[in-house]
């Protein structure tokens, strides 16, 4: 049970306080309700590039990192398709430094041409490091494009192509900031060795006078149901053939999400999971195989990906994967196996909750999807899933028409 208090400032900023007096540290987490799904299709990668610019100085503070380091703090940030999150960890005595820094960059950035110039280059190198200069690094670009017809999950957070990042203008940066980076679109979580009264006073003092802005109204096109299987063959300079299969799955808060998550664990969670046991250990068709998804807020993709043992034919490997999928569709999962994946979830949640930073991150995330208190009900949702429900869910999830397959050949 994670305890917290919640209040909202007059400008709409939602504030959550999680007191934990067993630590000398404090965490300040600011989550903005904007991600790559909010981008213009011709200016992709912008939400993430923008995240870099948030460290380029704000209206009253020329350097973001230096004062924080001086206060013994560390920070980082990440952008996903759905959201952007900034977090600081520092000794609790110095917490006001974090309020000062975070509130000033919410008030206004410095919008420096130099910072934009450098960060465009840095992000291009990040793009190259992770998606161009790595074997199989381009597969998610191709898969998203194959699986989505209209939804902005069609492109990756890093961006569709380097040119979109290279072409970013300072005016785009300003527009983006004043549209999305407003108190009304943000959630502040403060955790650790702090009191609610102290956080209330500091939040009023530093964030209280920032203009509210407007809460974002999204009009993202829902992805229509897929009506035919999509397939793509790729040949690339990699040492091993690989198979990728993706199936459209429910949104994070949609019906069937928890059952689908448990299905992915049955197939690919842990060394004893079905795909690993049957395809790697018994049939020796794959040298590794995984099943996972990203838990996206809009309808996402359940993914199976594996590298084939050298000499194994793609069609034999795919047939064997299909047999495992057929089993999940045709046969009800044994109770003990369901209990196993539930136990795994229970344990995973417990270990996740150990870190103060994780708890703060999660409180912000659950508040973003509706209410921070959902965090404490998470296991109840998993525990309520029945084998019947999983069986039903598997029927449309693994419908052949719902599938997207990439055959990635070594060449």
């Amino acid at each position: 049970m994670i305890h917290f208090n919640k209040f909202t400032l007059a400008n709409g900023l939602r504030v959550i306080v999680h007191e934990d007096h067993t630590t000398p540290m404090a965490v300040v987490n600011v989550m903005y309700d904007v991600g790559a799904r909010d981008e213009d299709p011709n200016k992709t990668g912008f939400a993430h590039l923008f995240e870099h610019l948030m460290f380029g100085g704000s209206i009253n503070i020329p350097e973001y990192d230096e004062p924080l380091q001086m206060a013994g703090g560390e920070n980082n940030a990440y952008t996903t398709s759905d959201l952007t999150n900034y977090y600081i960890q520092l000794p609790a005595e110095n917490i006001e430094t974090a309020f000062w820094l975070e509130s000033d960059r919410m008030l206004s950035l410095a919008f420096s041409e130099k910072s934009l110039d450098v960060q465009r280059k840095v992000v291009c190198e990040e793009f190259k490091e992770h998606y161009i200069n790595k074997p199989y690094g381009d597969v998610w670009h191709k898969m998203r494009d194959l699986a989505y017809a209209v939804h902005p999950y069609k492109w990756m957070t890093i961006g569709k192509e380097l040119s979109h990042i290279e072409d970013a203008k300072l005016q785009d940066v300003k527009d983006f900031f004043f549209k999305y980076y407003r108190p009304a679109n943000a959630i502040l979580v403060v955790g650790g060795h702090v009191t609610t009264a102290q956080v209330k006073a500091l939040a009023e003092k530093w964030f209280g006078d920032i203009p509210s802005g407007e809460r974002i109204q999204r009009n993202i096109l829902a992805e229509p149901p897929q009506t035919a299987a999509h397939k793509l063959e790729v040949k690339s300079n990699v040492p091993l053939d690989a198979l990728y299969k993706c199936y459209h799955m429910p949104a994070r808060t949609g019906k069937g999400y928890y059952a689908t998550d448990l299905i992915s664990d049955i197939l690919g969670g842990g060394a004893s999971s079905r795909l690993n046991q049957v395809l790697v250990k018994e049939k020796k068709l794959f040298s590794n195989i995984d099943c996972y998804h990203f838990g996206t807020l809009d309808a996402g993709l359940l993914t199976i990906e594996g590298k084939l043992v050298k000499g194994v034919k793609m069609k034999d490997a795919e047939k064997a994967v299909q047999e495992e999928i057929d089993k999940v569709q045709q046969t009800v999962i044994p109770e003990r196996e369901l209990q196993k994946v539930k136990n795994r979830v229970e344990s995973m949640l417990a270990f996740e909750d150990m870190g103060l930073l994780n708890r703060a991150n999660n409180l912000a995330f659950y508040e973003l999807i509706g209410d921070a208190s959902l965090m404490n009900n998470e296991f109840t949702h998993y525990d309520a899933v029945t084998t019947t429900e999983m069986h039903e869910e598997a029927q449309h999830l693994f419908d052949e028409k719902n599938s997207n397959t990439i055959y990635y050949y070594a060449g």
């Binding site: 503070i61 380091q69 001086m70 206060a71 046991q277 043992v309 344990s347």
Partner: protein, 427 residues
């Protein structure tokens, strides 16, 4: 109205009184020491068994790590799948690791399941069978993984730079290869296991919320017998054979859009008085986001997504290693800038403001790293396995708080001469 241009008051690093929480120690009936850090806050625990049996002790490449890996893949009573099933069923994680000096098995689980898991752990540690079938799957899959990794410039660069620093036959410079995987034999692994995974070569570290009968359970499963007999291990002398050449350029992928840059030199080990001072100098150079290298090469020039310098924590000898992946056409410019930063630290004194910031950053970071029982036991483990005590930890903190800019300059003059560094680019 608040004045946003003025930073709030802060408490200074030197004012923080960092304490390393003491451990409890219990000895099992057969003499195995158990080091304990308790915490009641969560329902989780961590148990780690540590054996002197890393790659330093192997006589054939990869035997230490393969032995460590395959112990979990079948015992005389349980198949690999049964072991995986029983740990997965209770939501536990049973991880194994093999480094230069030590090989470890670590169990993470919910406290309530510990009693169900310890028989499985006992079986894995005391009765592994090393099935041929499992070795052949392991060999094939590791070779496939190696083939993929060999296409990555950073992976290739890491292998080469350690080879230059320590020599290709030294445990610190020796790397995996297809041939070495092919040469692995069950009999060699069984022998390595018998020799190193013995009761008198084992230390146990536990942390978290422990069941009341923890020690009883440990005694029942690991404390009764002199399992695997008495090992009398002698740490072999192995000499370092560094490369004579200093500059290397490797083309691994003709279409590569980035190069992996490594700039490294040997450095004395942690027992040398310069080691703790170098922790500070290394932080200034490339050990945090505001470092000289990051500020210049990422934040000023945009040549890379990240550049870091690292101080190895190896027992016999350490090294300073500067590493980055930079755009293909700016690799040489990156190297020039690195040397420029090294020379600046030799020629100019570190400004007081910067040193102050680094002290505060490092102390804040240690404070954060000591947050939680798992983290505290980790610190103790590193001290105990290296034959050190809390004084070493407090001395390091003292160095951070008191080292002067003059001392740092002297250190740079001794260790930051560009000509002393190995230099490598892998594209």
């Amino acid at each position: 109205m608040i004045n946003r241009k003025i930073a709030p008051e802060i408490k200074d690093a030197t004012a923080f009184d960092i304490k390393l929480r003491p451990y409890e120690k219990v000895t099992l009936d057969n003499g195995i020491p158990v080091y304990i850090i308790k915490s009641e806050e969560q329902d989780t625990l961590q148990l780690e068994l540590v054996f002197t049996g890393g790659s330093w002790y192997e006589t054939e490449n990869l035997v230490a790590s393969a032995t460590n890996f395959l112990m979990k893949n079948g015992t005389s009573k349980r198949t690999a799948h049964e072991i995986n099933e029983s740990t997965d069923y209770f939501g536990a994680y049973l991880n194994r690791n093999s480094h230069h000096e030590y090989a470890t098995y670590t169990l993470h689980c919910l406290t309530k399941h510990f009693g169900d898991l310890i028989p499985v752990l006992q079986d894995v540690i005391l009765d592994p069978a090393f099935p041929e079938e499992e070795l052949s799957i392991f060999r094939q899959n590791m070779k496939q993984r190696l083939a993929v990794n060999l296409q990555k410039c950073d992976f290739v660069a890491n292998r080469h730079i350690d080879k230059y620093l320590f020599g290709e036959f030294h445990p610190y410079g020796r790397v995996s290869s297809m041939d070495a995987y092919d040469a692995l034999q069950v009999e060699t692994m069984k022998a390595f296991y018998k020799q190193h995974y013995t009761y008198n070569n084992c230390k146990i570290f536990v942390a978290g919320n422990l069941p009341a009968n923890m020690i009883h359970l440990l005694n029942e499963h690991f404390g009764k017998e002199k399992w695997n007999g008495e090992a009398s291990l002698i740490r072999p002398e192995i000499s370092i054979m560094p490369a004579e050449e200093k500059k290397f350029r490797i083309f691994n992928d003709e279409n590569g859009v980035q190069g992996a840059v490594r700039i490294a030199r040997p450095f004395p080990n942690r027992y040398h008085p310069d080691f703790s001072k170098m922790l500070v100098l290394n932080t200034i150079l490339g050990g945090y986001f505001g470092s000289r290298l990051m500020s210049n090469i990422r934040e000023e020039k945009g040549y890379t997504y990240g550049i870091h310098s690292q101080l190895y924590n190896f027992r016999q000898s350490s090294a300073i290693n500067i590493q980055t992946e930079a755009g293909r056409d700016v690799c040489e410019a990156t190297i020039e800038e690195v040397y420029k930063e090294l020379r600046t630290l030799q020629q100019e004194i570190v400004p007081e403001e910067e040193l102050h910031l680094v002290r505060n950053f490092m102390i804040g970071s240690i404070l954060g790293d000591l947050d939680g029982a798992f983290e505290v036991i980790q610190r103790w483990k590193n001290l105990i396995l290296n034959g050190l005590d809390e004084n070493y930890f407090y001395n390091n903190i003292n160095t951070i708080k008191t080292i002067t800019a003059e001392e740092l300059q002297e250190l740079a003059q001794e260790y930051f001469t560009p000509e002393d560094f190995y230099e490598l680019v892998v594209i």
